[in-house]
């Protein structure tokens, strides 16, 4: 398959739009059933500038994006899908000034539903900031 025909390759090279563009979410790496996305630190991510506490909002958005990308990495199909549910454990606060990385794996697929898990870190994968699971469903037949 030519790169241009592969939905995942197309996704990787798409100019960011919407909320991905606002957060600066971009592709970092991928494998047969996983994708890693990242976004640069932005002072607008603070929920409290005085204590430099980073909001969990960008973390959740990045997880949602990485999980969706992992499903396309596994299926190599671009079908309309919606997030069904998402659960996040916040292991520690993110450090101010560091980019956020989310590596999601699509570990199981059925006809209608995709199951994912996701690790989030801010520079060191051995020192994660969050762990999440999310499931998605296809909103239309392929």
């Amino acid at each position: 398959m030519e790169d241009g025909d592969d939905p995942f390759e197309r996704l990787k090279n798409l100019p960011p739009r919407g909320h991905h563009a606002m957060l600066g979410i971009h592709h970092v790496d991928d494998g047969p059933d996983w994708a890693e996305l990242a976004c640069p630190f932005n002072p607008a991510f603070f929920i409290d500038r005085a204590t430099e506490l980073v909001s969990s909002g960008p973390v959740v958005s990045l997880i949602d994006a990485a999980a969706g990308a992992a499903i396309i990495a596994r299926t190599r199909q671009w079908r309309p899908m919606a997030t069904l549910d998402l659960r996040v454990d916040y292991l520690r606060p993110a450090h101010a000034g560091r980019p956020l990385h989310a590596r999601a794996t699509c570990y199981h697929m059925t006809h209608k539903v995709a199951f994912t898990r996701c690790d989030v870190h801010d520079g060191d994968p051995e020192d994660p900031i969050a762990f999440a699971t999310a499931s998605f469903f296809y909103t239309a037949e392929s």
Binding site: F45, R49, S61, A82, L84
Partner: protein, 125 residues
């Protein structure tokens, strides 16, 4: 207030008047909050729910020096969010000494048709 935080301002959240013991936020839709075309980004809906929960606990504690940290969050997406004004209202399920359990619901034009619900555990510093 939560709408004055850098992140609340980036998204454009506004604090609404709410009944005692609850907190409500409103988020106008905009192109920077879009996910798949014509739908509000799921992570944005998640953030709105979470911020409503944080706002309520901050309000109930009434002490700005106490730090509130999310431990975990569980979200259900019930309907696609359209590019329209979204509302989230939170209520406390249990306020302990160290942990608060809070849930929130998000809707758009019809409160009886929620687009998402969420539940968080917050650590009270």
């Amino acid at each position: 207030m939560i709408d004055a935080t850098p992140y609340g301002r980036m998204l454009g959240m506004k604090v609404m008047v709410a009944a005692p013991g609850t907190a409500a936020l409103m988020l106008p839709a905009g192109p920077a909050l879009e996910g798949r075309p014509d739908f509000l980004y799921g992570g944005v809906i998640a953030s709105l729910l979470e911020m409503a929960c944080l706002a309520l606990v901050a309000q109930e504690l009434g002490d700005v020096r106490r730090r509130i940290k999310p431990i975990n969050m569980s979200l259900d997406f019930l309907r696609g969010g359209l590019m329209a004004d979204s509302y989230a209202e939170a209520r406390i399920i249990r306020m302990g000494k160290h942990i608060a359990n809070v849930d929130a619901v998000c809707w758009q034009d019809d409160r009886e048709k929620p687009i998402a619900s969420g539940r968080v555990h917050l650590l009270l510093g």
